[in-house]
Point group: D2
Chain length 105, copies 4
């Protein structure tokens, strides 16, 4: 993404707020692919083209902007994710939350 951006002189557009908006745009396109699918058949329906291809493309766009944001902010995304997952593992002990969705209210 850094090379892609620099070759096009697009770094000047890539302040964090703009990149988050771009990420939102791609998440929106991903959401549109699933919005009207029956929840219990979505995996099956997304297993075949052309939906499979489109889902991969939109997930790729989300990752591309996330990685680009990490670069702009000098965040080590892999390390941050490992740490966050360790924290979540401590915060939600398997024995206590087994089979129950974490409360979001």
């Amino acid at each position: 993404m850094r090379a892609f951006t620099d070759e096009r002189d697009w770094a000047k557009f890539h302040d964090p707020k703009s990149l988050v908006l771009a990420l939102v745009g791609e998440v929106g396109e991903l959401a549109e692919l699933f919005q009207w699918l029956p929840a219990d058949r979505a995996v099956q329906l997304a297993a075949a083209d052309p939906l499979r291809q489109r889902v991969g493309e939109e997930m790729a766009d989300v990752l591309a902007y996330l990685v680009r944001l990490a670069d702009v902010l000098d965040v080590d995304l892999a390390e941050a994710t490992r740490k966050k997952l360790e924290n979540s593992a401590e915060r939600f002990p398997a024995a206590e939350v087994h089979g129950e969705a974490p409360e979001k209210i």
Copy 2:
């Protein structure tokens, strides 16, 4: 994420539509961290804690759900992203789009 999910018996919650909604929730938390920052000072302000720490955590959550969705859908996210970037490179030739934001209207 697969191990984390299975240890908690949470796979039953992870249909694609639910995971996209969870992804949206995390993108929303990321957006909130930047929403009122001056655009031209966001990089600098996000370089110091506590914002730096919080941004890393929310980006991690976004990646975690994206990776989990890829697992559920059996999508090779790295490969999809490489392909998409190659396609974007062809679609936006550096010489033609140099220094100009791609039209979104």
Copy 3:
């Protein structure tokens, strides 16, 4: 929202990109309330407090920022919505799309 904003001298934060990010934050909170609910029981589960109360609050936040954005951009949101719905009615004739989800791929 205009009075609320002016009384707090917050108009300086309300450029369109910041307001869209704030809108995204509220949509993210709304998404979190529904993410792990079974799709076929969501209406029923959201009919009782405390979820009912929380859903109303997050929907209110979404509307508040949307209305504020309309004010900042001098958009007549009610008129724009009437027009868009008329356009959608022409674009999707009832006889042609009856019972079928509009294609999003």
Copy 4:
């Protein structure tokens, strides 16, 4: 939106999770219209067509799905928004927060 939906027999697609995903899709399209605009020129750039027209359409789509969700959930959106704004007014007394963005960390 209710008439529009019923005429097309689309109510069966409008469970809350699907509607929130549709809302996310429209917010994503709105975000895309602003993502690469300079923050300090966005109001001016969105004041002229074709951007003005497009922004109105995407804001309309956001409102349409929000109103439809309110209908499905039997939420009085106007009343919820008035209450929420009153609560926010108490939570953020003008004298205390004057000129300062509310902390989001």
